[in-house]
Point group: C2
Chain length 347, copies 2
Amino acid sequence: MKGVKMEINEFHINNILKDMEKKEYQGYLLAQFTNIHYISNYRPTSFAFCVIKEDPIIYASKMDMEIANKTSTIEVKEFTSFSDMLGELKKEGISNLAIEPSLVYSTYEKFKDSFNIKSETFIDAQRQIKTADEIDKIQKATQIAQKAFVDLDILNNTNPENIVALELDNLMRKYGANGSSFDTIVTSGSNSSLPHATPQDKQLEKPILIDWGAKYHGYCSDNTRTIVYTEKQNEICDIVAEAHDKAIKAIKPGLKCCEIDKVARDIISEYGYGDNYIHSTGHSVGLDIHEIPTFSTKDKTVIEKGMVITVEPGIYLEDNFGVRLEDTIAIEKNKGRIIGDLPLIIE
Amino acid sequence: MKGVKMEINEFHINNILKDMEKKEYQGYLLAQFTNIHYISNYRPTSFAFCVIKEDPIIYASKMDMEIANKTSTIEVKEFTSFSDMLGELKKEGISNLAIEPSLVYSTYEKFKDSFNIKSETFIDAQRQIKTADEIDKIQKATQIAQKAFVDLDILNNTNPENIVALELDNLMRKYGANGSSFDTIVTSGSNSSLPHATPQDKQLEKPILIDWGAKYHGYCSDNTRTIVYTEKQNEICDIVAEAHDKAIKAIKPGLKCCEIDKVARDIISEYGYGDNYIHSTGHSVGLDIHEIPTFSTKDKTVIEKGMVITVEPGIYLEDNFGVRLEDTIAIEKNKGRIIGDLPLIIE
C-alpha cells in the first residue's frame, strides 16, 4: 500500500516540479495540512512545512515526528527553528522560492528577506484533477453520507434541529466516516434563508434544509436537500431543481466554469429571483471542502476531466425561507456525472 | 444583550485603536473568523474582512449579509470586490495598514501595492487578556466537558476508541456544547505515544489517554486525562502529575511564560525523561483552541491577570505508551486557578 501511495505522491510531485522548472523556482513551500497530506500522505497534527524540490523534504514539529516517520512517503526531519531551515534551503542553492497562496503572513515574513518569493497555485492546479483513487474516496464519502441521510428518516423525524444534526453526524461515523466534512447544517423555517445557518435547539419547522457531508480517508462529500411543504415553497423548489438539473446537464470539459454558473443563474433570474441567489453555483471538493475551481460568475477556469465540483443553486427569501439543492459532480470525458444516488426531491 | 456586547466590543476596539495610533496606522485588517467574532459578535460563515479604524467596518460576503446584519455590533457592508474595498479605504486616507499575522498571503497580495503594510499582533495581544464574561464562557465549556467525561464512565467503558470519542462528543452536545473544541482524542495502548493520535476502531488498550474540550458560545475548554494500569505507567504518571502540579503552583503574574515551562520541563528531565517531553507545557485558549501566549521554552511573555492558559506536561515512550495530564488555568491576581474540578488521577 505504501508503494502505491508513494507512486501517486511521486506523480504529483513530478508534475509540480515541471511547473516549478518552467518558472525557475528551486523550491516550493507548503504548510497547509491538506497540501502536505496530498504530497506525502502524512497529515500534520500540530505544524509542519514541506519544501518541494529535487529531494522533497518535510520539516515536522517534534511532537509529530513519530507519526510523520510512520506515514510520510517523503523524507522527514525535525523542525528546529526557522533560521536552521532557512540556512539549509539556502545552502542547497534555493534562491527563487514559490509559496502556497494560503501561507499565513507570519510565516511568509520569516522567509521574505532570504529568498525571491512569489505565491504560485501549482499545488492547487494539481489538486484540481483528481486521480481515480481520489474520486473513489469522494464516492465512498458520498455513499456514507447519503446512507446516513436516508436512515435519518427526516420526513418522520420529530427531534429539534441540533439533535437531527447530531444524529446525522453519528450515522455518518457509524457507516465509516472519519467525521463530517464541515459543521452539519440542519435548519428550518425562516432560518433556512441563511445559507450557512447553525442548527438550533428548536423543533423543525418548514421547510427543512440539510447541508451535510462525510469525510472518508480525508476526502469530503457535500450534498444539500430541502424538504418543502407549502405551495410557495414547492414553486421555489421547482425553480432551484431546474437550475440544478440544467447546470449539471450543461457541464462539459472545454467549457469555462463561469458558463455553468451562468446556466443556473440565468434560470433563477428569469423567474425573477436573481437577487435572491446570493452565492456561487458550486465549488470543488477533495481533501478540503472548498477547493478551486468554482462555478462562479468570475471563474474562467476551463473544465477538465477529473475535476469534482458541486452544483448547488439556491433561492433565499429573507425572513421567510430558503431552498438549496446540491450534488457533487465528477467531470468525465464528455459530461458531468452525479456522485451518489439520493433523489433530489425528498417527499 | 446587544448593548452589553456592543460595549465589550467597543472596549476591545478602543484598546486596539490606541495601539494603532502609537504606530501611526490608520487601519487594521482582519479576516480570521475568530478575530472578527471577537470584534463584532458576528461569526463569518463564508468570508469577511474587518477593518478597524475610526469607524470600524466589516465587508461581508453576500451570502452572509443577513446573519451579519442581525448579529454584528459594528457597521456591515457587502463585499463586492477587492478593488472597490481598496478604493474606499484609500479614499478615507488610509496609507499605513496593519494586518493580522494569520492573514493568508493571497489576501495580503491584494493590498500590498496600495498600502504600507506590516503585520501587528494588536488583536492577539488584546485577546490574551480575557474579560470576566469570556472566562465565564470558558468555565462553562469546561463544566460541560468534565460532566460529559464523568458520564462516559471510562473505567467501565467497553467500546472501541472511536465510539468512546463519539460518545464524549455527543455527551458534550447533550450538556449544551455547540460542538467540540477540536477533534476529540481517545487513544490507548502504544498509540498513546502519539500526542495527537486519531481514535481507531479498536478496543481500548492500556493506558487510555483522552484529550477533549467543549465549545460554548464560541469559547473552548481543554483537558487531558490518562488512565494508567501497570507499575511502569503509574511511575510515569506520577512524574507527569508532579510536573503538572508544580508548574501550576509556580504560576504568578509577573513571571515569564517560559519560566513555567521550565518548572515542568526540569522535573521531567530530572527523572531522565527530558527527551520524551516533546511539546510545550501549555497554550492559551479562548475563541481558538491554540492562542498566545504559550508556556514554551521560548515564550518570554509576562504572565498577566486575565490570561487563560493550559498546563499539559506529558511523557511519550515511542511504540510503548504516553501519559499527558492537562488542566486549563485562569490567571488571577496572585496565582493560577484550575478551571473545573475533575480529579487529575482517574482510578
